[in-house]
């Protein structure tokens, strides 16, 4: 009997267009929009781009600066994009904001329109060049004198010196405690998971409504069959859990295809999604169990609950969760959306699973509490009125 009800619940769930949209389509659409919106911001904020710069050559000047700029503009990790132009052309490029600054070979000068991160970088580059040039010139002068005394040994020492100057020693080692991304924009994508998990409530709400005799003809009819109500509820909840979990896995796969880095802790991500979907379904179950509210009203409640909890978890307004953490941390400790996003975040930031397990356990406890309350509300088999 369980299998019969389970199988048909799956069929109903996958053909229910509204629930299907919120479960399968909504997270993918939202992730796509977020990727388009935040993808550019991420690129601007997080990734380094070549600094466009105009270079004005001086007749008869030494080639050192020219060579250095040329070298810094080559290869995959080029720092500069150098255009060698006349002084007039350079000024025009700067006025048109096509370059960040002009480097004059004469006197190794830098002209920028305003102070910025890139102008500071250009300034540092020129400062470093000037220092090295001075040292090299001094060394060259002293080595010329030494040359007369010991022509054989000096060239070797000079080579060593130059090598020593150009080398950069690193005295620390970069160690990754976690394998997930710590990109702050990922929080928005975690919030999508949170929201879509909470929107699983729609399917549970419809399902529980179809079991109650005082919620329509189908509910009445199903209360007349020789099957225990609890069996029906469990079979349908299990079916929905499977469907909604699958929807989250598809969303996860889609986001991975978009290039998001979720690290290699996939089993833990699946654990978060499983408990996330469970709490979403439990919320829908309890909303659907409330009597005397029409179905449209219940849909409205599910939307409102999902939206409010997601907003509090930073889906729309960044920083709200932080403010709650400062002033009312208990909300973050019990808000399912915050628990889901925090769990994801903890996987990317912490090297242990303390936060993850605490959050998942909280989600589990909340799910059980809501389901027990819902069962007490719908368990009756005889109604006072229909």
């Amino acid at each position: 009997m369980f299998g019969h009800i389970f199988k048909n619940a799956i069929k109903v769930a996958v053909r229910e267009k509204t629930s299907l949209f919120w479960s399968f389509i909504f997270p993918i659409v939202l992730a796509t929009f977020m990727f388009i919106a935040f993808g550019n911001i991420m690129e601007k904020d997080e990734l380094f781009h070549e600094i466009p710069v105009a270079f004005v050559k001086e007749e008869g000047a030494s080639l050192g600066l020219s060579y250095m700029l040329e070298a810094m503009g080559e290869g995959e990790e080029a720092m500069l994009s150098v255009q060698t132009v006349t002084a007039e052309e350079a000024q025009k490029l700067l006025d048109d904001k096509k370059v960040e600054g002009i480097i004059y070979e004469d006197g190794c000068k830098l002209v920028v329109l305003k102070e910025s991160m890139n102008s500071t970088i250009l300034e540092e580059i020129l400062l470093l060049y000037k220092q090295n040039e001075t040292v090299m010139m001094d060394m060259l002068a002293s080595s010329t004198m030494q040359l007369a005394e010991d022509a054989a040994s000096v060239p070797g020492d000079l080579e060593e010196l130059v090598k020593g100057m150009t080398e950069r020693a690193t005295y620390y080692k970069e160690v990754h405690f976690t394998e997930g991304s710590q990109n702050k924009y990922y929080n928005y994508f975690y919030a999508i998971f949170a929201m879509s998990c909470l929107f699983a409530s729609f399917s549970a709400m419809s399902s529980i409504g179809r079991i109650q005799a005082d919620c329509g003809a189908l509910g009445m009819r199903r209360n007349m069959v020789p099957t225990h109500k609890m069996l029906t509820i469990v079979a349908e909840f299990t079916a929905l859990l499977l469907i909604q979990f699958l929807a989250e896995v598809i969303a996860l796969g889609y986001m991975a295809l978009l290039g998001m880095d979720f690290g290699s802790r996939i089993p833990f991500i699946l654990l978060i999604l499983f408990f996330g979907v469970s709490i979403g379904l439990a919320i829908g179950t309890i909303v659907g169990s409330v009597k005397k509210i029409p179905e449209a009203g219940k849909v409205g409640i599910c939307v409102a609950v999902g939206m409010v909890l997601s907003v509090l978890a930073d889906l729309c307004v960044g920083g709200l969760k932080h403010q709650l953490e400062l002033h009312a941390p208990i909300i973050n400790r019990i808000n399912p959306a915050a628990l889901i996003t925090d769990s994801f975040y903890s996987l990317g930031v912490y090297d242990d699973y303390g936060v993850l397990f605490r959050n998942v356990a909280t989600l589990g406890i909340e799910t059980v509490i809501l389901l027990v309350i819902a069962y007490l509300m719908v368990k009756k088999s005889r109604y006072k009125e229909l």
Binding site: H4, R15, M220, R222, P226, R382, Y383, K384, E385, L386
Partner: protein, 315 residues
């Protein structure tokens, strides 16, 4: 003569909705193998009675037995023997015709092969073979009603409740439904048919219980009920330019107990006698009253209801 077995026995059933007394010490006995009609106007307590019998509604007092056993919400063995066709169509909009019938049948019949056979038979019974793969939203109102019936009878129940199954159904589908119910009864099922359409109940049911305001008004076969009415015939004559004195002459005829003028028609009610129409025609001729259409009607259950309660069944 062997005593007939009872499919349903209801004793002193009382059901209150707050201040409203929906069932007032209601008694009911339905014999196995009959088509029992529960007739009454909207709000008379027909559906409440049915829902109490099916253990869906709680009740304040009384006893309900089905097939000789007390009926409870967890009387699964009894529920397995009962089929229900609700007033409102109760199907899954997301499942096809076949899947809907299979779903409900599967809640009663666990053997897969037997279930498949039952589902096919139920679909054939209601004539939905060509619509097996249709979703309910693609079906007309009449076809939806047929699907509703198929879902209620697929598991071959011994006792079937039909709660106003023909509401908002076109005449052709209505006839199909009534013929189907007749067939089910012929195949051995006991039928409880609730309706406020007296014509259907008259046509279909062996025994009829007329109820109003949660109480039994009358019970018996169609003929037994009609004998409760003093009306034996009603003759309606379309008359032109008749005077009050002439109407009074009709009132003086034998066996006429009431004469009324309604929209140009003279309605004459008889409590017996024979050849009433001939005597009316003679008087019309003698008084030189011009007349048009003439109809003669035998008493209906509505007349019975009207006489007992003072109001029409359709009120």
């Amino acid at each position: 003569m062997a005593e007939k077995k009872l499919a349903i026995k209801v004793n002193g059933l009382v059901k209150r909705y707050k201040e409203l007394l929906a069932l007032d010490h209601f008694d009911l006995e339905v014999e196995e193998g009959e088509i029992f009609g529960l007739l009454g106007p909207n709000g008379s307590g027909k559906s409440t009675t049915m829902n109490c019998i099916l253990s869906l509604l709680s009740y304040d007092s009384g006893e309900i037995e089905v097939f000789g056993q007390k009926m409870n919400p967890d009387s699964y063995d009894l529920k397995r023997r009962i089929g229900v066709v609700m007033q409102n169509v109760a199907v899954f909009n997301e499942l096809t015709v076949y899947e809907n019938v299979d779903y409900f049948c599967g809640l009663y019949v666990t053997d897969k092969n037997l279930r498949k056979q039952y589902v096919e038979e139920a679909i054939a019974f209601v004539g939905l073979e060509d619509y097996k793969k249709f979703l309910p939203k693609k079906l007309s109102g009449g076809l939806l009603r047929r699907l509703n019936i198929a879902c209620g009878i697929a598991h071959k129940p011994e006792l079937i409740f039909f709660d106003e199954p023909t509401v908002a159904v076109d005449p052709q589908s209505r006839n199909n439904i009534l013929e189907g119910i007749q067939k089910l009864n012929e195949q051995g099922a006991t039928i409880v048919y609730t309706s406020h359409y007296m014509e259907e109940v008259e046509q279909l049911c062996n025994r009829i219980l007329i109820m109003d305001k949660g109480r039994k008004v009358a019970q018996g076969t169609k003929d037994e009920l009609k004998q409760m009415s003093k009306n034996t015939e009603t003759i309606r004559v379309e008359v032109f330019g008749i005077t009050e004195e002439q109407v009074a002459q009709f009132k003086g005829l034998a066996h006429i107990y009431d004469v009324q003028m309604e929209d140009g028609f003279m309605k004459l009610s008889f409590d017996g006698g024979s050849h009433n129409l001939i005597r009316i025609m003679e008087l019309l001729k003698n008084e030189d009253i011009k007349y048009g259409r003439v109809t003669s009607e035998l008493p209906t259950l509505n007349d019975v209801f009207l006489e007992i309660t003072g109001k029409e069944l359709r009120d």
